[in-house]
């Protein structure tokens, strides 16, 4: 951590921060509304597959909204975005691989003899 005796932020930078501040407020309200909608959705008489799809989309929307705005990925260099997406893709690939492995109900052991 450094000394506080550094140059003051430029007016452009401060204007940008004020603009972001308003984005954060809008996003926080949006996140609260979507979370409320998710909770209402699970009690509605809608087919399970449809609810599951909508819940997945809503969660993905919230997830990416937080990483893009709150975590500044939309303002930062794209290298950071791709670093994170690589980890995310590997996590999702692990999930998909496990799902495929465990979806096999009975393994023919003759293959191994």
């Amino acid at each position: 951590m450094s000394s506080s005796h550094e140059a003051a932020p430029s007016p452009d930078f401060l204007a940008e921060e004020v603009r972001r501040y308003h984005h954060f407020i809008v996003l926080a309200l949006w996140l609260a509304v979507v979370t409320g909608a998710e909770i209402v959705l699970i009690f509605l008489p809608i087919p399970v597959a449809a609810v599951l799809t909508i819940l997945t989309l809503m969660s993905a929307g919230k997830f990416f909204a937080v990483i893009l705005w709150f975590m500044h990925l939309i303002y930062d260099k794209s290298l950071l975005f791709w670093c994170f997406v690589t980890g995310l893709a590997l996590a999702f690939a692990s999930f998909a691989a496990l799902l495929c492995l465990f979806s096999v109900d009975r393994i023919d052991t003759r293959w191994f003899s």
Binding site: M1, S2, S3, S4, H5, E6, P9, S10, D12, F13, L14, E16, E17, R20, Y21, F24, I25, L27, A28, L31, A32, T35, E38, I39, I42, F43, V48, V51, L52, L55, T56, M58, S59, K62, F63, V66, I67, W69, F70, M71, H72, Y75, D76, K77, S78, L79, L80, C83, F84, T86, G87, L88, L90, A91, F92, S94, F95, L98, L99, F102
Partner: protein, 222 residues
């Protein structure tokens, strides 16, 4: 990337501050860690849908155990703490140390409420008979949510230290703002992991009459 961000480009080969880059790489690796834990929980829920057996030997289902009101409340709290963290980072960038302290105190307070809710939930589940040892469900559930809770506790501790450090006068300028931003990244990550856990672990249990996993019992003809 915006012009203002370009104006604050770090003097490194990537143009990104090393602390920030390392934090993003750590978060990417933590993504894989949580991805594995969530996958394990979901797969074992599918393979062992029957729930668990309590101390009296009764078969119990997790659908009857969850308290959606409490979980929704703690989710909301964590989302709002993320909002306050974004405001704290913004205040630090603007050099408003008092605003930073106010917002960080809010984040710490909300983080402690979240942890309190989790302790309450774990205690309730334990008294209902769900332990880490008596079922696969208990093992995967406690390991997943407990790991997340540990991340939240580390984040709270980090922010408490940062709050007190700000009174020394050494937390200022561009490097101080960077330190706060890195702590903020960690906190937001804890929030996005919970967004996934909330849907994948809690909400799916309420879909259909017995959750999407069923009860593991043979269907009874009507």
């Amino acid at each position: 990337m915006s012009d203002t961000a370009a104006a604050h480009e770090a003097p490194t080969s990537t143009g990104i501050d090393h602390k920030k880059l390392i934090m993003w790489l750590f978060l990417a690796s933590d993504c894989m860690f949580f991805g594995t834990l969530i996958s394990t929980h979901l797969l074992y829920r599918k393979l062992y849908p029957a729930g668990f057996t309590d101390a009296e030997g009764h078969q119990r289902f997790i659908q009857n155990l969850f308290n959606i009101e409490l979980t929704s409340f703690s989710t909301f709290i964590l989302l709002m703490s993320s909002f306050l963290m974004a405001l704290a980072v913004s205040a630090m960038h603007k050099g408003q140390i008092k605003s930073f302290r106010r917002n960080v105190l809010g984040v710490i307070f909300f983080g402690l409420i979240f942890l309190g809710c989790q302790v309450f939930e774990f205690t309730h589940f334990y008294h209902q008979g769900l332990t880490i040892q008596n079922s696969v469900l208990g093992s995967t559930f406690y390991v997943l949510t407990g790991t997340h809770g540990t991340h939240v506790a580390i984040g709270v501790l980090w922010l408490i230290l940062m709050y007190f450090y700000s009174f020394t006068g050494k937390l200022g300028g561009h490097m101080g703002a960077l330190d706060v931003e890195v702590a903020g990244l960690y906190w937001h990550f804890v929030d996005i992991v919970w967004i996934i856990i909330f849907t994948a672990v809690y909400l799916v249990e309420y879909l259909g009459p017995n959750g999407i996993w069923g009860t593991g019992l043979p269907a009874v003809a009507k």
